[in-house]
């Protein structure tokens, strides 16, 4: 839920900066370790978007693989969510370089001044 709240906050900021009057679709890239449950994010987002520029927007979630770096030997590898063992030196002591992030990566939207929003009506 709080990830959906943070996402909405970012969307609202973007909407204001870019004169967006309506958001139709949102793409979020999340690391496999970010702990996102797609159905839960969908539902939370749909609820929070009600009454905002993003009401009814379609949310697409792209899951990205993780990247770990062994703190002992520097070896980089793709860990599993429950396996961080370095195959070179046999310890599980890694820095997660990638896989925890949740990134708002694109949106399809209507901007003010595009000719098809309410502000353009009138004489």
């Amino acid at each position: 839920m709080s990830i959906a709240q943070d996402l909405m906050r970012q969307l609202e900021e973007l909407a204001e900066e870019n004169d967006i009057v309506r958001v139709d679709a949102v793409t979020v890239r999340a690391g496999v370790l970010a702990g996102i449950v797609p159905e839960a994010l969908d539902m939370a987002f749909a609820c929070l978007a009600e009454g905002t520029v993003a009401e009814g927007a379609e949310l697409t979630l792209e899951i990205e693989p993780a990247l770990a770096e062994c703190r002992r030997c520097g070896h980089r590898f793709e860990p599993e969510i429950d396996a961080y063992l370095c195959e070179r030196c046999g310890v599980a002591d890694v820095t997660i370089l990638q896989g925890r992030d949740i990134i708002l990566s694109s949106l399809s939207c209507t901007q003010r001044g595009n000719g098809n929003d309410e502000d353009q009506r009138g004489p």
Binding site: I3, Q10, A34, L104, L107
Partner: protein
Amino acid sequence: MTKISVVRSVLKANDAVAEANRRRLEAAGIMVLNITSAPGSGKTALLEKTIPALAPALRSAVVVGDLQTTRDAERLGGLAVEVSQINTEGGCHLQATQVADALDTLALKDLGLLFIENVGNMVCPASYDLGEHLRVVLLSVPEGPDKVAKYPTIFQPADVILINKMDLAGPLEFSDEIVMADLARINTRAPVFRVSARTGEGLEAWYDWIREQHRARFGS
């Protein structure tokens, strides 16, 4: 319709505040420990023992997060430390801004440690940096030995792991072999302390570890 490409970290706002918290506390010579566990693992009981044991050399403040009530803060307030209770009102974890607000209410002078007792939850707190230097994860004997395998994302970044309620290991036939075998895949860096916050068993090693970590950061 326009398609806009952006790269905005959804957690960016939290991370920026977390970094500011860390810098602010570091400047004051305060080491921050973020304590996470399932509800009822003994986070508050651990602090009730730890805080007086480390004083007066290391004086502590506590920021404690719960959905509701000030009961934990009342328990810890008896130990004459600075305590700030955050009620998340449904939120399942603390966020860096809540900690920043709490810091404004605490007298940070002459402190050596800040313990952040996170909301009891082994999922969401993993994603939120609060500005800590060290992540402490607790699991307790009655929860069973499968916690590490079931919640790897909280154990992977842990800097120290405590197995609490070891006084119940006998009656519950708890063996830490499964815990250690799972940690061998997930986190071999964090030291594991077997303790009982109730009886005091094993706590001396935990205290020594905290003192050592503080010394390593701030000297004596």
